[in-house]
Symmetry: C2
Subunit: 251 residues, 2 copies
DNA sequence: GAGAGCGTTCGACAATGCCGAACGCCGTTC
DNA sequence: GAACGGCGTTCGGCATTGTCGAACGCTCTC
């Protein structure tokens, strides 16, 4: 691929560093991690600060992400077609299933949540939009993995005692997802919670996202830890409806 | 100020263009707007696409914001202190007032909404986090203007027949806000709606944000279009509480 | 079929970004 | 209190990188 602009790539790497980890980093630490001169990093940070993508804490001198990114992030949501087509189906799915609904796509080897409808009750919930979830340990992620050339990381993180961490076992699980046309995680990402997801296809039949419901394992699954067929049906119905909307939009 | 990295500034300008307007732009249009060569813009877009900040529509060739920005945007929210300190007071204010609550700060000469609590009822509402609002035509904006060296744009946009568009009138209005310690907009931004806001101060007493409630004008105001004193009190209480939290965090 | 405008590519060139070195400041240790 | 280490910042020389004009192929319109 022809050359890219090095300083923009470096700036993006700095922003990604700031988005991961503790959120605030010193210049020297960034320079060490990226193997760049401190003067180089300083020039990039000064520019990012100038455009509002980074802010510097006056006391500690540390850097953090800036406010301008919030507007860019939500502007992305406004034009994200997967999300705009899914919104109409996500609320009814939450109402019908009684569970929280999330829609995700792949970003940087993980699931990026682009829409989230709260479970329709009064419990305390936090909005997951913008969150990155693991591919191998979530229902959304398994579905996205199953239909992509995407390879999961060689080293799979364990989140609970039920997380699949062996590559062979994951491959077998993904085969099951392809056969069934839906995926699940049962206490593989969060203890006490389970989820079911199905693929959303775009123009030409490619999988561009996934939609799923999640909740307490005893509500999502029967006594033998299998997702309730009723819920699976609801999710697949919603996935098909969104897929139709996405396909139709391209005609 | 010492030199900044030109190509990063240009990349940021392109991203801001894509965030405004229709959301999808052609390369030639971006080049014209920024007075850059098409080859230059192409190199920058290719790099932004490579890092996930931009996507290209295969059919039309047009460019749009990319998924990576969503994660950066929400990561910013996670570390935004104004927001994290405000969250505890925003829900009670919504419950107490029965209205929607928003918290905002200044970005690019406008109000950036960093937190939004829905009005506690079942009406359809859309989440405003990440949205940019005008300074001169909103309660949040007037409060932020009143306590900043920030100058509003010379040319003030009109949103309703009640929008203040004369600089002198706005200056007088901001003087009133400073005197009263809170601001309001009564059908100045949205017909049929009114809002009340109060300043949130950070360490050293500087105004770093504003918190406000908004709703139908007949619920926010009395019959003479004056905000109800009870609501004003609730908002000011919440603003003081958040300000204390922000001040306390720096000790 | 001609023309206009698009996105893309390429190579020459000079402008810019990079980095080593040095600085002042701050916190820690002795 | 002095010394030390590591921080963020600044600066200037240099060569690498980014820029841009020109050309291309494609698509759409007339």
């Amino acid at each position: 691929m022809p050359g890219t602009v090095q300083s923009i790539e470096r700036a993006a790497a700095i922003l990604r560093m700031l988005a991961g980890g503790p959120g605030r980093l010193g210049l020297a630490e960034i320079a060490r991690s990226l193997d760049l001169a401190k003067g180089t990093v300083h020039g990039i940070l000064r520019t990012l600060q100038h455009v509002g993508f980074v802010e510097q804490d006056r006391g500690s001198g540390h850097y953090q992400l800036g406010a301008a990114l919030l507007h860019l992030g939500t502007s992305y949501l406004d034009i994200n077609e997967l999300r705009s087509r899914s919104i109409n189906w996500a609320d009814p799915l939450a109402a019908r299933s009684g569970e929280a609904v999330r829609i995700g796509t792949v970003l940087e080897g993980r699931v990026l949540v682009v829409h989230h409808v709260f479970r329709p009750d009064d419990t305390f919930q936090t909005l997951d939009i913008g969150t990155l979830l693991p591919l191998h340990a979530t229902a959304l992620g398994k579905v996205l993995l199953a239909y992509r050339a995407e390879r999961p990381a060689a080293d799979l993180d364990r989140y609970t005692h039920r997380t699949v961490v062996a590559a062979k076992e994951l491959a077998a699980e993904l085969e099951r997802v392809r056969e069934a046309g839906w995926g699940a995680d049962v206490e593989e990402y969060t203890v006490g919670e389970a989820a079911v997801a199905a693929p959303i296809r775009g123009y030409g039949g490619l999988v561009v996202g996934a939609i799923g419901v999640s909740g307490l394992v005893e509500r999502i699954c029967d006594s033998r830890y299998r997702p309730q067929p009723k819920l699976v049906g609801y999710v697949r119905d919603a996935a098909r409806a969104v897929s139709r909307d996405l396909g139709a939009a391209r005609r």
